[in-house]
């Protein structure tokens, strides 16, 4: 399998001493869903931000498609995308206007057709002319996912994508992401605190704690390693080491 993301000795220290990410190395392969899990403060978000070029690493190397994120930022970002339930889109713009702006930012050809296609896939074509401020949080999340797929990314970075969705839409979204992954060989880097979701979605997991990788592998091997019947049990074991 092709290596799309290569991380070597990645370290981030804030204010010179506080280690948020401590010398981690991993690879991400084409067509896989790789999950980043760990308790709050484990370093997942910082890692994700460094992969997206939002935070500068203190040490180490990030290569995406064989290119260095520091020097080939534009070329890399044209081929990836990001969505998070913690960010939104301009409230006064309609869904279609917002997606048009991002289509142009990503230089999407035939963007009107692409927007309609994605809105149909996410079953929100009927709200295309609605200003974003009138949407429910679940609808905004789905519009953000449409935005994240506009440029047909090779890698999708998803930070808790289903956090604000009801169980029905969350399930539909997961099914859809898996279908897109299968159909187009899309690679997804996924973070979530929903352990059941991570178990269901991810081909491979990286378990982080206190800035370090403490386990990596498929969900079953991680459960086996820590002697848990579910990822949630493993998570609690790690989060409460004394109990």
């Amino acid at each position: 399998m092709n290596v799309l993301v290569e991380v070597k000795g990645l370290t981030k220290a804030f204010n010179g001493f506080k280690l948020a990410v401590d010398d981690i190395s991993f690879e991400m392969y084409e067509g896989e869903i790789l999950g980043l899990i760990g308790p709050n403060g484990a370093g997942k978000t910082t890692t994700l931000q460094m992969l997206l070029g939002l935070t500068t690493p203190t040490a180490g190397e990030i290569r995406i498609f064989g290119l260095d994120i520091g020097s080939a930022r534009e070329e890399i970002l044209r081929q990836v995308n990001f969505s998070s339930s913690y960010i939104s889109l301009p409230f006064s713009l309609t869904v279609e206007e917002n997606l048009t702006v991002f289509s142009r930012l990503y230089n999407v050809k035939e963007h009107k057709k692409r927007i309609r296609e994605l809105l149909s896939i996410f079953e929100i074509l009927d709200i295309k002319d609605t200003p974003t401020r009138r949407l429910s949080s679940g609808q905004i999340t789905r519009v953000c996912l449409c935005k994240a797929l506009l440029n047909n990314p090779r890698i999708l970075f998803l930070d808790e994508p289903t956090a604000s969705l009801d169980p029905d839409i969350a399930d539909k979204t997961r099914t859809l992401l898996r279908a897109i992954k299968k159909e187009r060989g899309l690679s997804i880097l996924y973070t979530s605190h929903n352990m059941k979701e991570m178990e269901e979605m991810c081909d491979r997991l990286i378990f982080m704690d206190k800035g370090r990788i403490i386990a990596a592998g498929d969900p079953e091997s991680i459960m086996k390693k820590f002697g848990g019947r579910s990822l949630e049990e493993v998570f609690i074991k790690i989060a409460r080491p004394g109990q």
Binding site: K12, F14, A20, T45, T46, Q49, L52, G53, L54, T55, T56, R73, E74, L77, R78, V80, N81, F82, S84, Y86, I87, S88, L89, P90, F91, S92, L93, E97, T100, V101, F102, S103, R104, L105, Y106, N107, P131, C144, K147, F157
Partner: protein, 265 residues
């Protein structure tokens, strides 16, 4: 169209869409400038009728009011546009897109020019109808004077944006207050000569002070204010270069400190 221009245009369009249906955004462009022109314009007319012995009292005041607004709007065109993305939690979407920091600045500059044209058109037209004031009597001098005000507004706007990026929404108040900080030493409504000596020293280093001195030269003598324009342009070249460097330096610090994702929280 190159990919770079396409991205600059895309980000500009993102802001222009706002004006289609957002009343508060339209107010920002039209309401406050018009209100300023009405209130201060009529105050000026009243004072001039009270027998003030300053010739062209209305001309000086209305002209200064319109020109000052150009500086203010060009600064706001940058900092408030940036804040729009902070308020709507959209900043991360922008910075994980291929839009570079340089393209981002260019989009903001383009936006500020568009907003300025809209606002100034309204103010200039209204000043003509209400006070029979025609700013174009300044002739060719108007172009370099306005250009210098716009560039100074940009420099202030870029510095303000960099500070908000660095210190978060706590620094938001700067977007409205910083330009006004320069107003007393810009000698907008009075000559630099009336300032106390220490403020006169500061005014020497403020491009807008030279612009407004130049404006008064044009209104009183009709001559082209070469000295004032050269001074203002020279200072602006230095300030705009420093402001851009300051922005890049801050952007680097913000990325090192991992603050980019936190702006707007």
């Amino acid at each position: 169209m190159s990919a770079r221009s396409q991205r600059i245009l895309a980000y500009t369009i993102r802001h222009l869409y706002l004006y289609k249906r957002s009343l508060p955004r339209l107010m920002e462009v039209f309401y406050w400038p018009v209100l300023d022109l009405l209130v201060w314009g009529f105050v000026t007319v009243y004072l001039s009728r009270q027998g003030g012995d300053l010739p062209q009292f209305v001309t000086f005041f209305i002209g200064a009011l319109i020109l000052w607004d150009m500086l203010f709007r060009s600064q706001q065109g940058i900092s408030v546009s940036f804040l729009e993305d902070v308020w709507s939690r959209n900043l991360l979407n922008i910075f994980v897109s291929p839009l570079s920091a340089t393209e981002y600045i260019f989009s903001l500059l383009l936006l500020s020019i568009i907003k300025l044209i809209l606002t100034s058109t309204v103010m200039i037209t209204l000043a003509w109808f209400l006070y029979q004031f025609n700013i174009f009597v300044m002739g060719f001098s108007l172009i370099p004077l306005v250009a210098n005000l716009i560039v100074m507004g940009w420099a202030v706007g870029i510095v303000t944006t960099a500070l908000i990026l660095r210190f978060g929404q706590e620094a938001e108040v700067l977007a409205w207050g910083v330009a006004l900080l320069f107003q007393p030493v810009s000698a907008v409504f009075y000559p630099v000569a009336v300032l106390p000596w220490f403020l006169r020293v500061i005014a020497n280093y403020i491009p807008a002070a030279h612009v407004f001195e130049g404006m008064r030269v044009v209104f009183t003598t009709g001559a082209f204010p070469t000295k004032e324009i050269v001074w203002a342009a020279g200072l602006n070249v230095v300030y705009i270069a420093l402001s851009v460097l300051f922005f890049y330096w801050n952007f680097k610090v913000v990325k090192e400190k991992g603050l980019l994702a936190k702006v707007g929280e």
